[in-house]
């Protein structure tokens, strides 16, 4: 049974294939309206995440399927102490595919061991977010027409921002991608990621604190939120939260075809004055999130032999 637990579960060819299907859905959504007719997606959200859940549900509805599930652990048997494995086996008897979010890291791995239907990891604590990375890849691919030969700037919380780690890991497989890692020292990228991804794959990267100096070189600027819950004390948070706020004047030296991405939600790290700039792609990115999830659902259902 194929599942999607982390982005590296998919080969480059498979990612290309999913992106191709997503592009086809965007071009001709009518063709896909009944692809999942009579099928059910279970959204098991052991912790709340409204936008991710809505994105999965919208994706399944647009494929003509139905959705069941819960949006917080209190309304599931988990509140009675049921194990993840038992919940998954039970739900697998009702649904054709499961998207799950869980506060504990590795919960989807446990789910995948006992599941008779495909599991999609919709987030496990601060660990993996593979569908966000697929969304990012689709957005970059659509904006640039390629996933290789580019300079990608990642800015903000590079220490705890899992979407950043996952995007770097995914893009490490494409040729001639250079990373510029822009963050305060306290929030720089973890050593293990440098060792196990950047160094191991001989990737070109630069660490800097200076967003404006890095700007002219960038093809992609991936902004992230400095999350309060990642800090041990409030003083550190208050000191660093406004370090890397993107404003229009900082874009003076940017390329005309720069694409600005953000996994959202944002707090204030991208000024709202940028929203109307043609380089702002984060709301397009949100829309792409639905299309890539549609393509992913189709792929996993096809791999499970229940959809052609």
């Amino acid at each position: 049974m194929r599942h999607l637990i982390e982005i590296m579960d998919l080969s480059v060819d498979e990612i290309d294939e999913i992106i191709e299907v997503a592009n086809d859905i965007i071009a001709d959504p009518e063709k896909y309206r009944e692809k999942c007719k009579g099928m059910k997606l279970a959204t098991l959200f052991f912790e709340p995440s409204t936008r991710t859940r809505l994105s999965f549900e919208a994706a399944m509805y647009e494929l003509g399927g139905n959705v069941l599930g819960f949006s917080e652990a209190q309304s599931s048997s988990a509140a009675k102490g049921e194990s993840v494995s038992d919940t998954i086996r039970t739900v697998g008897a009702y649904a054709d595919i499961i998207a799950m979010r869980h506060p504990k890291e590795g919960a989807p791995v446990v789910a995948s061991y006992k599941s008779d239907v495909p599991i999609i990891n919709a987030g496990d604590g601060g660990h993996n977010r593979p569908t966000q990375t697929l969304t990012d890849l689709l957005t970059i691919s659509r904006e640039k027409g390629r996933l290789d030969n580019m300079t990608v700037g990642l800015c903000g919380d590079l220490k705890f921002g899992r979407t950043v780690h996952s995007l770097i890991t995914a893009m490490s497989r494409y040729k001639n991608v250079k990373f510029i890692l822009i963050s305060p020292e306290e929030l720089c990228i973890p050593e293990y990621l440098k060792d196990e991804v950047l160094h191991r794959n001989n990737l070109e990267y630069l660490e800097t604190k200076d967003l404006e100096a890095a700007m002219p070189e960038l093809d992609i600027l991936y902004m992230t939120r400095v999350q309060k819950e990642r800090f041990f004390n409030e003083q550190d948070y208050m000191r660093l939260k406004d370090s890397y706020i993107l404003t229009l004047d900082k874009l003076d030296n940017a390329k005309a075809d720069l694409s600005i991405l953000h996994p959202l939600p944002r707090v204030n790290e991208i000024s709202v004055t940028i929203d109307e700039d043609p380089r702002a792609k984060y709301f397009q990115q949100v829309r792409n999130g639905k299309y890539i999830r549609m393509a992913l659902i189709l792929k996993l259902l096809a791999a499970a032999g229940v959809q052609s």
């Binding site: 890291e105 590795g106 791995v109």
Partner: protein
């Protein structure tokens, strides 16, 4: 200091100095009812100092646990006072059962029956990661 020869049992030799007690704990040797000797800081031609564990009984021993602590350890099997088998250890690809994931956010913290399993992700540096949360195993 003299510790006598054993007739039937195991000698864990070439343990990196200072690691003997850790290995003693991981292998659960405290639960044995036979004689067990832990020698610290013995002279070693190869390493200068080493630890040695002698177990006065032939027991099933977890070679993965030994390889995890130190892949340079040799396991000597003694029968009738003679060395009958010498096993050289390698770092195992997977380990299970004797160490726990310490990441408080790992699923294993809430699902008690899950086996704690780790895979070797960097042989050179000896880094193991939890199969669930991918945290680096700290021991």
């Amino acid at each position: 200091m003299i510790i006598g020869k054993i007739e039937n049992g195991l000698v864990l030799d070439h343990i990196k100095a200072g690691q003997g007690m850790k290995l003693y704990g991981i292998l659960g040797l405290d639960k044995l009812d036979c004689q067990v000797a832990l020698i610290k800081n013995a002279d070693s031609k190869k390493y200068g100092k080493k630890d040695i564990i002698k177990i006065d009984k032939l027991i099933d021993i977890d070679l993965n646990a030994i390889g995890f602590v130190d892949p340079h350890i040799t396991v000597n099997e003694i029968k009738g006072g003679q060395l009958v088998k010498r096993t050289h250890i390698e770092k195992p690809e997977r380990i299970e059962g004797f160490v726990k994931c310490k990441n408080p956010r790992c699923i294993t913290t809430v699902e008690q029956e899950l086996p704690h399993r780790f895979v070797l992700t960097d042989r050179e540096k000896g880094i193991y990661r939890c199969i669930y949360c991918e945290s680096k195993l700290e021991y």
